[in-house]
Subunit: 616 residues, 2 copies
């Protein structure tokens, strides 16, 4: 069956028909190219495939047609002649093009480079080869095909079982062809996998050979569609363990390059596994952080890394759920602001129509102005920018802030209670709703769940100083900020004493806190402010805010800050009357990275930003 | 009862006691100042008020005390002498200070300027004047007082009724003192209001006079605490209409300045009301947009404006609810990126450690890379930056983008179905869950609910061109973008034909869409892209994306865009295999402003940013 066998007439007819059909856009036809399909389509009559619009309003004809007006016979004859001439010329050009293409194709085929290209006409799939590359998905038609989720094949309770025929779309995780048999693993959502296989059919050796040739041509990480029959099997290496798919058809949707930056499999191993392999004949490659981040989309296909992003999403969901239930609403404050929101922290600036604007280092001033605006319980989830040249494993130049602010009746402990309730909801929610994801993450990155107390565990500054002194730290006058080492030591001791990984440290010295912090009522060297820790590392910073404009001006003067336009509005909003209030800012990536006991905050950021990295 | 009556000894005792108590921080006492309270406190024995920590871990003593070591008698005597000398000096200074203060107070009192200052010891409130300014809330103690929400007094089903005594905290919305009677309105959350009143007690004229003097000194917008008894009444001007509060006690928590930028009442009127008043003796002031935005915290206290922010919050909540239920997860993509995300739209830039970084004009490239990362259904809510010098009523330089992106099986109509379902959830959710807020908003800004169809209403480009031609627009070759006037006209006609304010316009010309748009499979002059409209104005733009790296490079070349580092990663992520996908970006403020039929998008932004405004 070669393309030279059909007569020219048939070829012309096919071309003309395809052209006319393509012009009428209400009729959606998929063009054919491969010889076998052309032949089969012709034989089957190739009925028009009309796209059924699922929508209310009728789809109009693509181009409007004018009403014909009456013409003389002469005019009609002229029109007809012109039309025929045009048609003949068109057909000549088409034939020429076709011949050229065919010559090219033949040349390619001789070089044995060609692959069978299937331009799939979905409704007529039985007429096509059961393998091939689908044409580029351009929304030409809707197949209505229902793909089964790999996840739904898993476990005892699955509604699919041996003997069922299913369509699956997923990534080709791996492929192994050996002689007459082929095993491949299809992967979905990074951690649902199923084995599919094809065995040479002795009754049909030609077809089997072709299929195996095609399977060999497939590249890992390509997206493929498989139709197959479920068969009982025992597959330990896949998430679907009691069935495999016997391939009936396979088509590639998009093809991945044959050389990838690295293999997902290599990105999925624990450090321990890599370490252990180094003494063997086949040591596993150790993928560096930079290589991973340069190709983050590949890194995120590794089950644990993908699951980390899902956990991150769930943290936000749980944060909001708890705050909604406690009467909060969500706000969105500007990130381009006239002055710094946190003096002391590095700031990015930009030209703003001739002025200089800062990128908000926190929504601090604005969430407080929300309180002045009678939005008395607010939260915001948004980016926070810090132009700090820090090259540590826990700093980012851009991170996601989970911020909240609320009016208080008479004590900021009201806020700590809200926050504690919220974190409990997050921790409990993660362990129950994300059990599968946590299991996968902990396979690659070992950690224990975070322990926490039913009621808030609040340590006060003097107690922390006592602990640190006992631990051998030189705390000086006890009024300086904590170093990372101090925080870790404190976390260790708190865990020993109170049995919790999660605690609050209250009453920081005023000196190390921002100007908007409310001083302690008895000793203005201290303040009504707190940090919150997971495993001895800070995830949250908060305080009662100074809502009194006069005191605020004193505090600004003490810190040597001059009130620019931004701050003037902020203070004015308090002069116009405000509820006493307190709040906190939480680092989303910090929560995720420390909850999961990861070694680097970058692992909890989708596309991390640090002084050396602004791409991808 | 003047401060000179107590003997010096008693004064000294009180001072010494207060000093010692303040030092021991585990004992929380509120300092007294007013004469009457000092007397009463003494009489009542002033027992220690220990703050009961609600927390698990015991609160440590504020300062650690060293263990006393043994001293010689001589040393002890010296220490004692020193101590006594210090004490005497301290007391002398205190007495001096006290005398000075008293002199000042007397001078003020003579000038009739003084107000009674109540430093409230909550547990002993019966001993204090029933009015006064509370000391600055600095979390000295927790009262445990339960404030009742004004909202809970509303309606038939309220659990509070005439005769009940309640504590309320809120803003002093208005106050009217006339002779021996005083009426004030307390406001909470901007739109829950209740009337409170005080009438001169003929049995107790001195007290009544003092109370009325205090009430007169209160300023509107101050935050006050009221204890009062509910009484039956008919109050049409408040949200609580069948009871009012007879004031027993009133304390101010924070005092608003006596001169405010404008009154909340003036900010709360509809244009029609202001118009109608112009011909009367008392025309209402017309507050300009700039004045409002300069004092946005005051503007947002107006019930309608406050409710708009609550609606905005609910739109986000409903957006997420619908997408979670359709299998999406939330992502956070970087806002500092190496290149432009939308060529053509103005971009803000910043110095990024020696490089130039752009502020993301959309999360476009990153949400697509999420698809490459096997996060196949994602959404993001985050800021979007456009350095466009547009001075229109529908453009902002920073707005909140509701973005989504999803893998498709074979047609981007799958995405339009997801989006339509989501918008229906938003519209239905607003009308049911935000009924009260919508009622309030519509009182000030008249509008009808948005009408929409059960199934998506999709108009195609040629139909739109036909409509616009009929409407008298010069559409040229029909391949240019729509002007605002065209969009409005189109919206009008679509409403007439299909009876909906909400529709989708599909198949935009490729020329007017970004490079990453998938061309139409039959005519590359058109594209698989759509805008979504409410009341004839765009709220959303989306498309099937070009997932094919080769075609993408062609499209970039056609648009004359050179691929920088950012774009190179993006294209590479597709080379490494990707699902065909489509998505959309929605402007949150646009949705709110158009859903509510407001005249300006700034009304739907908490702190709007335009070329002239970067503060507050």
């Amino acid at each position: 069956m070669s393309l030279s066998t059909p007569t020219n007439n048939i070829k012309k007819f096919v071309i003309a028909m395809l052209v006319s059909v393509a012009i009428q856009r209400s009729v959606n036809v998929l063009a054919f190219q491969s010889k076998a399909h052309v032949r089969r389509a012709l034989l089957s009559g190739m009925s028009q495939h009309v796209e059924r619009s699922p929508f209310l309003c009728p789809m109009k004809r693509w181009m409007s047609t004018e009403n014909a007006t009456e013409k003389t016979e002469e005019e009609l004859a002229a029109i007809k002649a012109e039309r025929e001439a045009r048609k003949a010329e068109k057909e000549r050009l088409k034939a020429e093009k076709k011949a050229k293409k065919e010559a090219e194709r033949l040349a390619l085929e001789q070089a044995e480079e060609i692959q069978d290209v299937t331009y799939l006409f979905y409704e007529k799939q039985d007429q096509y080869e059961p393998f091939g590359d689908l044409s580029r998905t351009m929304s030409r038609s809707r197949t209505g095909r229902e793909f089964v989720n790999v996840q739904d094949l898993e476990g005892e309770g699955s509604k699919y079982g041996p003997g069922d025929t299913v369509w699956l779309r997923g990534r080709l995780h791996s492929i192994r062809v050996k002689g007459g048999s082929c095993f491949l693993v299809l992967r979905q959502d990074s951690f649902h996998t199923v084995q599919a296989c094809f065995f040479k059919d002795k009754e049909n050796p030609d077809f089997s050979q072709k299929m195996i040739k095609y399977l060999k041509s497939l590249t890992e990480e390509s997206v493929v569609d498989i139709e197959g029959v479920l068969e009982s099997a025992e597959v330990k290496s896949c998430s679907v363990q009691n069935v495999e798919v016997k391939i009936k058809r396979i088509y590639s949707v998009t093809k991945a390059a044959s050389i990838l930056p690295f293999l997902v499999e290599d990105a999925s191993r624990s450090e321990a596994e890599v370490d252990a392999s180094q003494e063997t004949d086949r040591p596993f490659p150790r993928l560096g952080q930079e290589l991973r981040l340069d190709n983050r989309w590949m890194d995120l296909r590794a089950p644990a890394n993908n699951a980390i992003m899902r956990v991150q999403s769930m943290v936000c969901q749980l944060f909001r759920e708890s705050l909604y239930s406690q009467g909060f609403i969500e706000i969105h404050t500007p990130k381009l602001i006239a002055g710094e929101s946190e003096s002391g922290a590095g700031v990015f600036t930009t030209d703003y129509f001739g002025q200089t604007a800062c990128l908000a280092q926190s929504p601090q001033l604005y969430k407080q102005m929300a309180i002045s605006s009678d939005l008395t319980r607010v939260f915001e989830i948004g980016p926070v920018f810090r132009a700090e040249n820090s090259h540590t494993r826990r700093h980012l130049c851009e991170f996601t802030g989970l911020d909240l602010e609320m009016a208080i009746n008479d004590h900021y402990m009201e806020t700590l209670e809200v926050i504690h309730k919220m974190f409990k909801h997050i921790f409990n929610g993660l362990e129950t709703r994300m059990a599968k994801e946590l299991e996968i993450i902990r396979q690659q990155y070992q950690s224990e769940p975070v322990t926490f107390t039913e009621e808030p565990c609040v340590i006060h500054w003097p107690e922390a100083m006592e602990i640190l002194t006992k631990e051998g730290f030189d705390i000086g006058d006890g009024m300086g900020d904590l170093t990372g080492a101090m925080e870790l030591a404190l976390g260790k001791v708190v865990k020993e004493i109170y049995g919790t990984d999660f605690f609050m440290l209250d009453k920081y010295p005023m000196e190390v806190r921002p100007f908007y912090t409310m001083p302690d009522p008895d000793d203005p060297k201290f303040s009504n402010s707190y940090d919150i820790f997971i495993r001895g590392q800070e995830i949250c910073s908060g305080a009662q805010r100074c809502h009194d404009p006069e005191l605020l001006e004193e505090l600004l003067a003490q810190k040597g800050i001059e009130a620019g336009d931004g701050l003037k509005s902020y203070i004015q909003s308090f002069r116009d009357g405000v509820y006493p209030h307190a709040g906190a800012g939480i680092g989303l990536e910090r929560v995720v990275f420390l909850y999961l006991g990861l070694d680097n905050v970058r692992k909890a950021s989708m596309f991390p930003r640090d002084p050396n990295r602004c791409t991808p």
